[in-house]
Symmetry: D2
Subunit: 234 residues, 4 copies
């Protein structure tokens, strides 16, 4: 059983009517619903407004893979909670920041770069697989067309990814490394660009397939039980 | 002094009037001309129709970096000559296959993949730097616009590059890893997609700058003097 | 069901008594035996002396992962058969060359380098995991000690691996990238250094675990059904 | 002219007599001396006890490559100063943390991992080049023997390096990725393990050559002049 925790800041769905119409129960529940169709996946949804911002030691201890959606409230996540997420990734927890979560605190702590990019609303995107042997690309070797998406464009200030699985072509002459993996410590990270809150991206079967694939890929292979301190050899 | 040998199959410039108008002395001489502006670069041009197809042991022994342009006559290069180029790369010689040289024999021997891609004439390309700290990107952090270029699109069947320096955006909804580096043995390889023979791509200052940068980067760091056989340790 | 084909040149086990004592039924059957303990793995063993050298189109069409052990007869494998293996890897088949199979023809065709290394019999090896989040390292985060092994030492002339999972420490002051992955086309490759025929390496539970892990990792994610030719976009 | 700033915490050379005998003017001045032999390199030495801990905006603005040696006082470097170093790296400044500087604050901010490792005093090390085409390996393709060095052993908790240039073999059955490169933003990082303060490592010509090579390699290729904020495309 894969224990997936879906963290959502859950603000825009409550603040904007047109977002609420797309995700009436929040993006987290939309993602939780399609993941739950897989009986090997157990979903828990948490949000920014919950106790401990939904990021307590207990919750993370019971998480194999953490999915994260955030946008306007990155700074409201406490440094302590961001550090806790980072430590769990280093110990093995999988981490899947989606779309505007490129700028979330835990990812910035883990990757060390500014994560800056270029952006523009309402463009067409074509998502193209350039890594057909990667488990996250299973079943997704043909292009995925997004009629409306927020364009994210290069230069995207990330460390060199372990693997670039998807490149995004955008109608306004921009490209983007839209699906990238990183390893930090014993944990695996998949950043996936699609999923602006104003478009029903997470209802698309291909996008759901990619996220499911990513969850399976990100499950810890080994769990680190040592401390992080340097160790003297005798 | 960097000794650059420019190999060109030199067929289309003689066969087609509209190509000859763009490159009256052949693509090799166009490239040779702008490289020669740098007084630290010494250029030698060779073509398929020369003795030893321009790829003799003596020529390669006196080459630091080999630039290669070929298209319709890949199969006419002998296996022996292709193997010789490969061996010199493994010993340290830099290698810069341009555009349709993605399918040339020495590169296929070195990379081991099919090099297949998708293609279409006469599209717009925007070349975007995704690796601003790489020496080949020196001075090229802003996009380069090609009004007319042959589109090359993914999936491009190459091994995982050491570095992807430029991504290509194309007007027909395609993307491409347009500038990629590989290391094989002691030699460095830069594959660069722009340069279809029907468009005056190699006259563009930005393209020239990239090729010059690549030449400097590809100069052998160390020269391998051992044989390639396995070596028993005593 | 994972269909694993184990190819062995099967010469030394018949030629040398002390090797036969270790692997009376050949290295292939030793490996086949421990893999068959997993009921999701279906094993077929083939050897150099079989029709088509055990590498017919039919056999490879029914192979998900090909394990290869060879040493002194690399040159006896026909070019045609080596090319066929290469093509199946590019279409998705997993490929696991073991020990002296670093010099086998299909691997050299796929990687493009000389594969040269340094070697010496009868040293101690300590195999150290440097990539604890990789599926091939599952359960193998602690060192594996080999009391007797053939030392393979750097410089090992391979392309930059996608991942180095294990480093080998040797008692004669040598190190080696002992477990490396590569991707070529749609296929995954794992080269694993341990397994000299004079020592009972493939009976060690940790070594068996690594090979089992590698088999599961190398199963094709996607199968390529297109041809390898360039494709014109209309 | 390459402007190199050498930062040293400069504590152990003053605290311990046996260290002072090796580095009477501090490790920074030893390194500064051999770098200054190259007339294209301009050296400035700074230490922890200076104003702004030697890390003011003005100093970093005039630095192309920052070399860092620190050990017991990592925590005394202020968060503000560590962040400033990080930002300059992201803008292009080269960064070369040596030996125990694996644990320094700016490197941890840039790499995001725990940097944990195993350690032991007074072992033999053999430094082995596994990347002969990398500029940092220029002239260093043969092994370098260190009669006495502090062993650093795996698992070393770093992100996957862009390149591993040197592997370290140690007499106590340990190996280490002793010379690794990383890119963060527009800046290049080289971590180099040799250089425990109790042994005269930085007087060795091969070690000096490697550090000189690294300085030349780490010089910014492009300088980033934009801010780090996300940028809206109009």
């Amino acid at each position: 059983m894969i224990r997936v925790t879906i963290w959502n800041e859950y603000i825009e769905e409550k603040m904007y009517k047109h977002v609420a119409e797309i995700y009436p129960e929040g993006i987290h529940n939309c993602i939780g619903n399609f993941l739950s169709e897989d009986k090997n996946i157990q979903v828990k949804c948490v949000t920014l407004s919950m106790p401990d911002q939904g990021l307590s030691e207990e919750i993370l201890n019971n998480t194999d893979v953490l999915i994260w959606w955030g946008h306007q409230a990155h700074d409201e996540v406490t440094d302590e909670n961001a550090e806790r997420v980072k430590k769990h990734v280093l110990k093995g927890m999988g981490f899947i920041p989606l779309h505007s979560a490129h700028g979330c605190k835990p990812l910035k702590l883990l990757l060390g770069t500014s994560m800056c990019l270029r952006w523009k609303h309402n463009e067409k995107e074509k998502l193209i697989c350039v890594n057909p042997s990667h488990p996250i690309a299973e079943g997704i070797t043909e292009p995925v067309y997004l009629d409306q998406e927020e364009m994210y464009g290069e230069y995207f200030d990330i460390p060199k990814p372990d693997d670039v699985i998807f490149l995004g072509w955008f109608s306004n002459q921009e490209v983007f490394r839209s699906g990238c993996t990183f390893t930090r410590g014993w944990g695996k990270i998949f950043y996936f660009q699609p999923g602006h809150e104003e478009y029903p991206i997470y209802y698309m079967p291909s996008i759901q397939r990619i996220i499911k694939n990513a969850v399976k890929w990100a499950v810890p292979v080994n769990r680190r039980n040592c401390d992080y301190d340097n160790k003297k050899v005798i």
